[in-house]
């Protein structure tokens, strides 16, 4: 593998060494006879070189759409994405191929994402052909075997088809395929949630080992907070199309600043009966509002146990709480954009 050698692989990723940056990113899906679904609606996000950034949130929060938009597998409606300082938002078709070599994806359901008619060897070789890597049959075959070995699969898997494999083995193939283009960043979208408990740990260990060996950067998108906490250097929490909190994993999970993060953490069951009996859950009332008509001001206010006067009137900014820990909540000082009842900004310049 010829991934870029990182000096000091064990040093924490430097805050100013940003591999991927999204600014004001939005993905709106038009709806017949109604307002668009604002799946991603103004996201600023930085992924540092060599880190694992966990992206958590519940179904419908826009986390998967955000992951897809970063590879331009769905087209952003607004905003900007930079990879290593280069704007990739405006890339043409040919240049996009280069982007998809540098940023790969591992999907949730390895069965749905692997072509059932193709052999494992063909599936893993495809990115090699697309990107003109390992030219020649012999070289390609050797490279496929090498990729399979990297994910812990015997070369004999080359001639099998996806239905002959277990869920865990299929997800290993998904990882091998993602590695084929020698990416710098891998977006892992719920990579373990379709796997059995005893297999999840195998795949998490594999991802961690590959990062250590190859200096990979991960965006780890998942709803399983315990798994995200285990693998991530930093965590970003998403709610209804926005990032509501981001920071070092220990800070966000140990001392959450946003009421949504607190509720989410309090709801995660822990395999410890005495602790479960005494713990206090913050049970949120109601359902997540429609992303086609998010509440004005703070989007969480309709379910927030701490909502107060400014929440419907000021759209909270992701404000720095020190040490790179940021949260979009007025409890830490009312900062943001004043809005009218429909949620439209009252000022042209929020600054």
């Amino acid at each position: 593998m010829t991934a870029p050698a990182r000096t000091g692989a064990d040093a924490p990723p430097a805050p100013d060494d940003v591999l991927l940056r999204a600014e004001g990113l939005a993905v709106h899906f038009p709806q017949r006879g109604g307002p668009p679904v604002r799946a991603v609606d103004g996201v600023d996000l930085e992924v540092r070189r060599g880190e694992t950034l966990g992206l958590v949130g519940e179904s419908g929060c826009g986390k998967s759409t955000l992951g897809l938009a970063l590879l331009r597998l769905v087209e952003p409606t607004a905003g900007r994405i930079e990879l290593d300082g280069t704007d990739v938002t405006a890339l043409g078709r040919r240049e996009l191929r280069g982007l998809r070599r540098r940023v790969a994806m591992v999907f949730q359901d390895p069965y749905a994402s692997l072509d059932p008619r193709q052999t494992i060897g063909r599936i893993v070789a495809e990115p090699l052909e697309v990107h003109g890597l390992a030219p020649g049959r012999a070289a390609r075959r050797a490279r496929v075997d090498e990729l399979l070995a990297m994910v812990g699969l015997d070369p004999s898997f080359r001639d099998r088809r996806p239905h002959e494999l277990s869920g865990g083995q299929r997800q290993r193939v998904g990882v091998a395929r993602a590695l084929a283009g020698e990416p710098e960043l891998i977006v892992c979208d719920e990579p373990i949630s379709s796997l059995d408990v005893s297999i999840q740990a195998q795949v998490l260990n594999l991802l961690v080992r590959l990062q250590r060996e190859l200096g990979l950067t991960y965006l780890f998108v998942a709803h399983d907070l315990a798994a995200v906490q285990h693998v991530s250097d930093r965590v970003a929490v998403m709610y209804l199309g926005r990032i509501v909190e981001v920071g070092d994993t220990a800070r966000v999970t140990g001392d959450p600043a946003h009421p949504y993060t607190r509720a989410l953490l309090s709801a995660v069951p822990v395999p410890d009966p005495p602790a479960e009996r005494v713990r206090r859950r913050i049970v949120l009332s109601g359902d997540v509002p429609s992303p086609a008509a998010p509440p004005s001001g703070c989007r969480f206010r309709t379910r927030c146990p701490d909502a107060f006067e400014p929440c419907p009137h000021v759209d909270p900014a992701l404000a720095d709480l020190g040490g790179g820990h940021r949260a979009a909540c007025h409890l830490h000082g009312v900062v943001g954009t004043p809005v009218d009842e429909a949620g439209a900004a009252l000022l042209d310049d929020p600054a």
């Binding site: 692989a9 064990d10 040093a11 924490p12 519940e58 179904s59 277990s166 865990g168 059995d196 408990v197 005893s198 297999i199 999840q200 740990a201 195998q202 998490l204 260990n205 961690v208 080992r209 990062q211 250590r212 709803h223 907070l225 315990a226 798994a227 906490q229 285990h230 693998v231 250097d233 994993t249 220990a250 999970t253 509720a263 989410l264 953490l265 309090s266 709801a267 995660v268 069951p269 822990v270 395999p271 410890d272 009966p273 005495p274 602790a275 479960e276 009996r277 859950r281 049970v283 949120l284 109601g286 359902d287």
Partner: protein, 342 residues
Amino acid sequence: MAAEPVLAVDDLRVTIATRRGPARVVNGVSWAVAPGETLAVVGESGSGKSVSVLSLLGLVPRPPATVTGRATFQGQDLVALPEEALRKVRGPGIAMVFQDPMTSLNPVLTVGRQLTEGMEVHLGLDRRAATERAAELLDLVGIPSPRERLASYPHHLSGGMRQRVMIAVALSCEPAVLIADEATTALDVTIQAQIVELIAELQRELGMAVVWITHDLGVVAGIADRVAVMYAGRIVEEGAVDDLYADPRHPYTRGLLASLPVLGDRARGGEGRHPADLAVIPGLPPDPVHLPPGCPFHPRCPVRADERCATEEPPLRPVPGARGPAPHRVATFYDLPPEDRR
């Protein structure tokens, strides 16, 4: 379990004919649950946890399945009961909640009708009284404006709302036993927390027995009184929830608990800044068409401390020092040293 069990399963076996040969999906499972008690049946996919329960209610088609053993409910053996009689047990006697609400909700009936139908048939209520009770039930499961919701169809509702409607339908006939088969697996954790609290509350009020079938050891810790861990169609360990989590005695149970990343105790103990490896159980569960001889876990087992592991099925027997009428039991030939997980 102090009280008389309301549902007792004894030596249940389910074999399903497949083109590759008979699949031995459930291989001698026994458990019992008392009124007001919660039993969790825990296992991974293919462990037989769902089939073992579905087969009790005649929900596994025979053939291709063959079901033997006994399941005693209110003096009747469910395994021997004809479909006609089972239909009267399902709903008023034993109600089920599934992972996907659309498998049990009728998409072309209003929420109100689905609730009132059972009550009219099984409880003998007239339409007006049933409608009244239906609105109460929707309110009970936390659905806002319940009266208006009676006229809604399932597709009008969000996933969390449908799950609550399914629970309301399950509760409408005041069942003696509620079986929840991965009932919260597809839900987000905040909604899951709502549903778990709701079922616990209703259980206290109505004195139902609850059987939770799940793979989620975290959820089980918070809701169960007793736990049965299944592997390859057998119970490999069972006991009171505190005993089993504090001192698991089967290598499979230990492996499962050790492989879970746990929120709050994140160890960056690996190389440099990277997290330490999680413990893993190597390999895969066995194919029910080709079960290994001996203990079904022995091909993956890191212990295998007895030569009989590969040749004989270890019986479920009490762990040393276990007491009471329903002691902590494990299916091994040897005793692992105690493991204090706290």
